[in-house]
């Protein structure tokens, strides 16, 4: 085996990554982290407001090609319509920091959702990324389902086909609907975690 003279250089870069900030996460089986955020209509929304209801959190960045896959195809709006009609609270969260890709104020969020036919209960603005970091939201989309008792019952991808190709949606396993069907029927969620996929959430550095 030959020596690799430049591995040392790689390690220097790794060292320069520095200590990682302690990473919190919404962990399946544990209470969902509390939050209060302003929605796109200017109203304060807390997780506690939805006590007794099943809640979906969807991390959103309208400029991300993975998000565009699910909005361009109408898949995300279809899920929002279907599950809010069944009494589920669907919260679309934007954690894009000011100046970052996908950053929106309330007016822009409303305009985009109107244009796309979005049917979330509310769009929440998490400009400082506090809620996103508390949940450990990594990608757009990254999906969480919280049961009526406030316990995280699903954390992961929207489906099992990590791509930006709309054609993959038809054959993908829809984890969110599967989790919602089970939790709204009072059953435990079979596939409670999966690999989230997408663009990185555009937090402030």
């Amino acid at each position: 085996m030959k020596r690799l003279v430049f591995v040392a250089v790689a390690l220097a870069v790794l060292a320069a990554l520095g200590p990682a900030p302690a990473r919190a996460a919404a962990v399946v089986g544990q209470p969902a982290p509390a939050f209060t955020l302003t929605d796109s209509q200017g109203r304060a929304r807390s997780l506690a407001d939805f006590e007794g209801m099943v809640v979906v959190l969807e991390w959103w960045n309208f400029e991300c090609p993975f998000v565009a896959k699910h909005y361009g195809s109408g898949n995300m709006q279809k899920l929002q319509k279907e599950w809010t009609a069944k009494g589920v609270v669907w919260l679309t969260v934007s954690s894009s920091a000011p100046g970052k890709q996908g950053h929106v104020d309330g007016a822009r969020a409303n305009e985009l959702m109107k244009e796309k036919g979005g049917a979330s209960t509310a769009v929440l603005l998490d400009h400082d990324g506090k809620a996103g970091k508390a949940y450990g939201a990594k990608t757009t989309p990254h999906m969480f389902v919280i049961d009526a008792k406030g316990t995280v019952v699903y954390a992961g991808g929207i489906d099992d086909k990590p791509s930006t190709d709309q054609a993959d949606i038809a054959t993908a396993k829809d984890y969110v609907s599967a989790a919602l069907a089970e939790v709204t029927a009072g059953k435990s969620v079979t596939a409670a975690t999966s690999q989230p996929y997408g663009c990185s959430v555009k937090y402030a550095e």
Binding site: F6, V7, V9, L14, A20, P21, G136, T164, T193, E205
Partner: protein
């Protein structure tokens, strides 16, 4: 702190002019994209019945990156769909070890500047015609801060001959091979579950002092990529403490690439060992790396 790969880029740019002068190598990059993909071969001809190594070359604009086989917290690995002459078959992409990118609280794994992803091809004993055309559709995700999906149809035409010489771009392959993780039984590993994490016990070859190490995980959904990896010495062994993804999936193996800085230079070694529960032993019998 030196940017990773400065040495590699020097080597690569020295041969770049030669590569573009090679007939048969083609590249298409849609306008507005930030990564150029092309297909190159290690030799200047195809020999019937002899393996052929080709490579997907990705040249990235400054700051842009593409992803490793495990992209980390976000991103997608580069993929290729081959269109090959009858009797040819392609192996999997051989992945040079990547570099980590941190954005906020997230870490992803990939390549900046330039990378060659080698692929070994099986060539049938009889190859009709004076030349063959190897083509593929390459899909990747390119990111600066924002990401764009990239796609290119690449191809390469090579003469069929009994003998072949190294192609001018052979230096790119030599460079990529230096970064391919090696299977090396002189490095011994064992892995066990620890509270909230995974412990990788590393025993370097006798007489080699391990000074620094970073583990690039291949096992999906096991580890929290953004957490620091703490290296501690335990007698002749070293323990690398890795954090688990709290929403991850259980695994009975730990696979990945250990990049190690030692008294005897730096190494990239393949790790693929059982992941057992309970504390990892550092002093008794060690699992050998297969």
């Amino acid at each position: 702190m030196l940017p990773f790969g400065r040495f590699s880029r020097g080597v690569l740019s020295a041969v770049a002019g030669l590569v573009f002068a090679v007939p048969g190598a083609s590249a298409q990059a849609p306008p507005g994209r930030h990564v150029k993909a092309s297909l190159v071969a290690e030799t200047d001809a195809v020999r019937p019945g002899q393996p052929l190594t080709v490579g997907i070359r990705l040249e990235m604009e400054k700051g842009w990156h593409t992803y490793w086989r495990n992209p980390g917290d976000s991103g997608l690995p580069t993929r290729v769909k081959w269109e090959l002459p009858a009797g040819f078959s392609a192996g999997e992409i051989l992945w040079p070890y990547p570099e980590p990118f941190r954005t906020g609280p997230l870490v992803s794994y990939g390549y900046e500047h330039e990378v060659l992803l080698p692929v070994e091809m099986r060539v049938p004993p009889a190859v009709p015609g004076p030349q063959v055309r190897i083509a593929g559709r390459v899909d990747w995700l390119e990111c600066l801060e924002a990401c764009l999906p990239g796609r290119a149809d690449v191809s390469l035409t090579l003469p069929v001959r009994a003998a072949a010489a190294p192609a001018p771009q052979a230096a790119l392959f030599a460079e990529a091979r230096r970064r391919l993780p090696k299977k090396d039984p002189a490095w011994r590993f064992s892995a066990s579950s620890a509270a909230g994490g995974v412990s990788l016990v590393v025993r370097p070859p006798r007489g080699t002092d391990l000074r620094e190490a970073y583990f690039y995980p291949v096992t999906p959904r096991l580890l929290d990529y953004a957490q620091p990896q703490k290296l501690t010495r335990e007698g002749a062994a070293h323990r690398l403490a890795l954090a688990r993804d709290p929403n991850g999936a259980p695994s009975d193996r730990l696979a990945g690439v250990l990049v190690a800085g030692t008294s005897d230079g730096s190494w990239a070694v393949e790790v693929d060992v059982p992941l057992v529960s309970g504390p990892a032993r550092t002093s008794l019998k060690q699992e050998r790396n297969p």
